[in-house]
Symmetry: C2
C-alpha cells in the first residue's frame, strides 16, 4: 500500500511549479495588470479600445503599458479570439510602383493584426469574378480592391451579395454601397494645377490616366476646373490620353512635346507617366525644370528615385491600404451584432510635395514663342 501511495503521491519537487515555459521575460497582460493595479480584463479592454473604462483607470493602464514596454502577443490574441480573419487583396495590373506601395501597407497592417492576407492577380473583371467566387468558397471574408477593380460595380455587388466585406482603396468616387478609403482626387488635381499656374505657366499640358478608372476622370476634371477658374483657355491639343504606364506616358509626352505650340508645363496623372515625360523631355534636350515643368501624381517611390525628383501629389497609399485592412477587421468584428452597419468611408488627406521638377516658365524658351507663323 505504502509503495503505491508513494508512487501516486506527487514527487518531492512538486512543491514548486514545473519549470517555467517562458524563456524570455516579455511582459504579459498580467504583468501590466499588476503594475496598473487592476485585472487583466481591464487591461484587455484598454488595449482593444473598448468603452466602459473610466478615464483614470485607462491612463493608469496606458502608463503601465508604456513603462513595461508591453506588446500584446499576437498568437494568444488570435487564438483566444477564436477566428482568424482572412482577407484577399486583388489587383488587376495597376502601375508597378503603385502596387508595391499598396502591398506594403496591406502586408504590414495584416501582419500587425495577425490577419491572413492572400494576394491575387486577376486578368480582367471576368477573371476577377471567378477568383472572388473561389476565394469566398475558400472562406475568405474580406476583399481589398485597388483601381480599376474597385470601379466595377459588378465586382462589388458579387462580394456583397455573398456576404463578403469589400473595401475599395482609391476609387474615383465612393458609391456608398461598400467601404472605401480615398482621397479627394478632384481637389488634389485642382490644387496641383493651381500650383503650376501660380508658377506663371499658361500653356499647361495634361496626360490623362487609364480611362477605365474613375479617378482618371476626376483628375482631369480637377485640371479643367483649375484652368477655367484661372481664366486660362485649354488647348485641347495639350491633353493627351495615357494608360498610367511608363510606356503610355512616353507616347503621350511625345505628342505634347512635338505639338506645334508645345506646353511649358505638363501635369501627368501619375508618376510613371511623369517620369516618362521627363525622359522624353531630356531626349529632346529640354532641361527639367528650366525648359519645361513636369509634375506627377501619387508620390510613389519612382517620383523620388529619378532626377530631377518629381513635384507630385502625395497620395498616402500605404496608410490607405492599412486603413482598408483595419476597416475590414472592424466590420468583421461587428458582424452579427449590428444587423448591418452602413459602409464606412474614409477620406484621407493628400499633400502637394514640391521637389525639383517645376519652375516658372523660361522667358527665353523657344517654345513659348515659336516662329511667329500663326
Amino acid at each position: 500500500m505504502s509503495t503505491k501511495a508513494e508512487t501516486l503521491a506527487p514527487p518531492a519537487t512538486s512543491g514548486r511549479k514545473r519549470a517555467a515555459r517562458r524563456s524570455n521575460a516579455a511582459p504579459t497582460i498580467t504583468d501590466v495588470a499588476k503594475e496598473a493595479q487592476c485585472s487583466p480584463m481591464t487591461v484587455s479592454r484598454v488595449i482593444n479600445g473598448e468603452e466602459n473604462v473610466r478615464e483614470d483607470t485607462k491612463q493608469k493602464v496606458l502608463g503601465a503599458i508604456a513603462k513595461l514596454n508591453y506588446v500584446p502577443n499576437r498568437a494568444a490574441r488570435s487564438l483566444a479570439a477564436g477566428s482568424q480573419l482572412r482577407i484577399a487583396l486583388l489587383f488587376d495590373n495597376p502601375s508597378a510602383s503603385y502596387l508595391s506601395e499598396f502591398l506594403m501597407g496591406a502586408l504590414e497592417e495584416a501582419s500587425r493584426r495577425d490577419i491572413y492576407l492572400v494576394v491575387q492577380a486577376c486578368e480582367n473583371v471576368a477573371d476577377a469574378q471567378k477568383v472572388i467566387k473561389k476565394l469566398l468558397d475558400g472562406g475568405i471574408e474580406g476583399f481589398i480592391l485597388p483601381p480599376p477593380l474597385c470601379d466595377d460595380q459588378s465586382v462589388l455587388d458579387l462580394i456583397r451579395s455573398s456576404g463578403g466585406i469589400a473595401v475599395a482603396v482609391g476609387p474615383g468616387r465612393a458609391t456608398g454601397s461598400h467601404g472605401a478609403v480615398l482621397i479627394d482626387e478632384f481637389q488634389a488635381a485642382y490644387d496641383m494645377t493651381r500650383h503650376i499656374i501660380g508658377l506663371g505657366h499658361e500653356r499647361i499640358g495634361f496626360i490623362i490616366g487609364n480611362p477605365d478608372q474613375v479617378a482618371s476622370g476626376r483628375r482631369l476634371l480637377g485640371y479643367r476646373s483649375a484652368m477655367k477658374d484661372a481664366g486660362l483657355t485649354i488647348d485641347e491639343g495639350l491633353i493627351a490620353q495615357g494608360q498610367f504606364t511608363y510606356r503610355s506616358g512616353m507616347v503621350a509626352a511625345e505628342k505634347l512635346l512635338g505639338a506645334a505650340k508645345p506646353p511649358t508645363a505638363i501635369f501627368a496623372s501619375n508618376d510613371d507617366m511623369a517620369a516618362a515625360t521627363v525622359a522624353m523631355a531630356h531626349r529632346r534636350h529640354l532641361d527639367v525644370p528650366n525648359d519645361i515643368t513636369v509634375c506627377g501624381f501619387d508620390d510613389t517611390e519612382l517620383a523620388s528615385s529619378i532626377w530631377p525628383e518629381l513635384t507630385t501629389i502625395r497620395q498616402p497609399i500605404r496608410e490607405m491600404t492599412a486603413e482598408a485592412v483595419a476597416m475590414i477587421a472592424r466590420v468583421h468584428k461587428q458582424k452579427g451584432r449590428t444587423a448591418r452597419a452602413k459602409p464606412e468611408q474614409l477620406t484621407l488627406a493628400y499633400q502637394l510635395i514640391r521637389r525639383n521638377s517645376d519652375a516658372g516658365p523660361s522667358l527665353a524658351s523657344s517654345f513659348s514663342k515659336p516662329p511667329g507663323n500663326t
Copy 2:
C-alpha cells in the same frame, strides 16, 4: 431555501457547455487524434516530424489528417511553443526599389510564420549600434541586415556577443561568423559581362556601386575577370564610380558617355544606375539599345517599369529575405539544444533576365570608330 437553491443552481441551459467559442468547425488536433485512435500528443509528434513514433501509427495519423483536411492552427502553435520570435529588420539607405522588395519578402514570411517583425531605419553604423542595443534590451532576438550594414563586422559582432541572431542578406561575401543568404555576386557579374561580350561588344563600360559595400567590389571583379578571360583590355577610363543611387548613375553615365572614346555598352552595378544611364543616353540622342547597350543588376521593379525594359541580373531579393527569416526561426528553435550551431549559409541562384536594353554594337556607330586620330 428553494429560491436560493434555484438561483445558485446552474441555469437550465447549463446542461450543455457554454456557447462554443469556435464558430467555424475547422478540425483540431483532437479531432485527428480521435479519428486515428491515439492521443493528441502522438498527432503532434507526427506533425512535427519527431522520432519515436511507430511507422504504422504514423500512417494512421497521416491518413486521418488527410481525411479531415486538417491544418494546424498557427496561432495556437506559436503560443504553445512559448516564445514569440521577434525579429528586427534594419536598413541604412539602400536604394529605394531594393528596399521595397526586401521588405516585401520579410513581411510575407514573417506573417506566414507568425513572427513579429520590427522595421527600423538607421542613419549610419554608429546609429545602428545604438538601435541594436536598444532592440536587444527590448527582447528582440533576431536581426536581418541588408547591405551595407551586413558588411560591417562590428555590427555583426555586437549582435553575436549579446546572444542575438544575425543574418546578412546579400553581403558581398559571407564571413562565416554569422548566418547569410546571398548570391554569387562575382559570378553573376561575370556572366552578364560575358553576355555583353557575346553580343559583340568590346568597349564595355562599368559603373561601380557604393564602395562601402563588399558586393560592389565583387561585381567589379566579375566584370574584370570576364573581360580578361575574353582577351579584352580594359580601358580604365570606362570604369566610373557610382553610389547605387539614380543620381550617382547620372554622373557616372555622363562621364562614360562623354569620354573621348565612349563605350558601346555600359554595365551598371544596379538597376537604378542603369536607368539613369538610359536617361542620359536618351539625353544625348542615343537610342537604347541600338546605339548603346545598357545592362543593370538586381531586377528591381524599376528595371521593368522604364522603357526600354532593362536586361539585368535577377537577384531573388524576396526569396532571400524570406529565407533569412526562416533561418532565424530555425536557429532560434535550436538554441539551447545544440550548444552553438555553426551559422548557416545559403547561396541562392541568380538569373540573367534578357529584356530590351541590349543588342549588338551598331557598326555604323560614330562611337566605335571615332575620327581616326590615334
